[in-house]
């Protein structure tokens, strides 16, 4: 494994490079192989340990659910933007989170930013509170409960942490 310290990432790089160029000519394959070997070799010392995905099917379901939520959230936010601005009630909310891995927290924060009219703003030093800004805050407790059950619980289960 000296030449491929990260075999999965090497394969990804190889495939993605060919897809981005939409070609399987010899030159592109050589370039793709070059990148697939050198880039993992250059970055292998910068890696942190990440938890493995324990529940792959749940992960796929989570991705599909988030995609659906992105479409819904897009329409909702578009309507809020067109509607009367004066009626918007923005607000900051602190959400207690219970995830032990950085990867899980990153995924949760990104999901929160992409979906329900909220943007994640900051995280506390001990990584137990996620601060978010909401464009239109009706019910703080309901928002916290929704994020915890809809997004945090599946992430916790997927990574088993």
């Amino acid at each position: 494994m000296r030449f491929f310290p990260m075999p999965f990432h090497s394969m990804m790089l190889f495939v993605v490079w060919l897809l981005l160029n939409n070609s399987i000519s010899a030159g592109q394959i050589v370039l793709a192989a070059f990148f697939a070997i050198t880039i993992p070799w250059l970055v292998k010392d910068m890696r942190d340990e990440h938890p493995k995905i324990r529940r792959p099917f749940l992960a796929i379901r989570y991705v599909l659910m988030v995609m659906k939520d992105i479409v819904v959230a897009n329409v909702e936010v578009a309507l809020l933007i067109i509607g009367p601005i004066k009626k918007l009630q923005p607000g900051f909310v602190a959400i207690p989170i219970n995830l032990s891995s950085d990867l899980g927290i990153t995924i949760l924060a990104s999901t929160v930013s992409l979906t329900p009219g909220t943007v994640s703003a900051e995280i506390s030093k001990d990584k137990t509170w996620l601060y978010i800004h909401s464009l239109h805050l009706d019910d703080e407790q309901a928002l916290i409960a929704e994020i915890k059950t809809r997004y945090e619980a599946p992430i916790k289960e997927i990574f088993g942490c």
Binding site: V16, L19, L20, N22, I70, V71, A73, N74, V75, V77, A78, I81, I82, I85, L88, Q89, P90, G91, F92, V93, A94, A109, S110, T111, V112, S113, L114, G117, V119, S120, A121, E122, I123, S124, K125, D126, T128, W129, Y131, H133, L135, L137, E140
Partner: protein, 120 residues
């Protein structure tokens, strides 16, 4: 090019265009930086996705070759948009930019600046 493909591409372009327009309009219209963040992270991801899907269908037809790079662009956009929004929000908080007067939970900003836990 068959009519049904042209219709699909046109509809996707229109949907994408409308969402991008609303996203940019929101950027100009919303009153403070924290609210403005919402419109580029959300309204425009769907807009870009619509335009890219239209491009994917058109290119696949013209080249007789399924073009997947548009899906990759969408994926990269979905990964990077929240990170950018988060960095802008962080910067605003650490520079002490005041949110709108009526914003709820303004007391949390001081806690956020020092990354402390909120008071219970």
């Amino acid at each position: 090019m068959p009519l049904y493909l042209e219709i699909i591409v046109c509809v996707l372009l229109l949907i994408g265009g409308i969402f991008l327009l609303v996203g940019s309009y929101g950027l100009a219209r919303l009153p403070d930086i924290y609210m403005r963040l919402h419109s580029p992270t959300k309204a425009s991801t769907l807009g870009i996705t619509g335009v890219l899907l239209a491009s994917m269908i058109l290119q696949s037809y013209l080249q007789d070759f399924v073009s997947i790079k548009e899906l990759l662009i969408t994926l990269f956009l979905l990964i990077t948009a929240p990170v950018a929004a988060n960095m802008i929000a962080k910067t605003a908080i650490h520079h002490g930019i005041k949110p709108l007067e009526k914003t709820r939970g303004k007391s949390l900003i001081e806690k956020m600046r020092h990354r402390n836990n909120p008071p219970e």
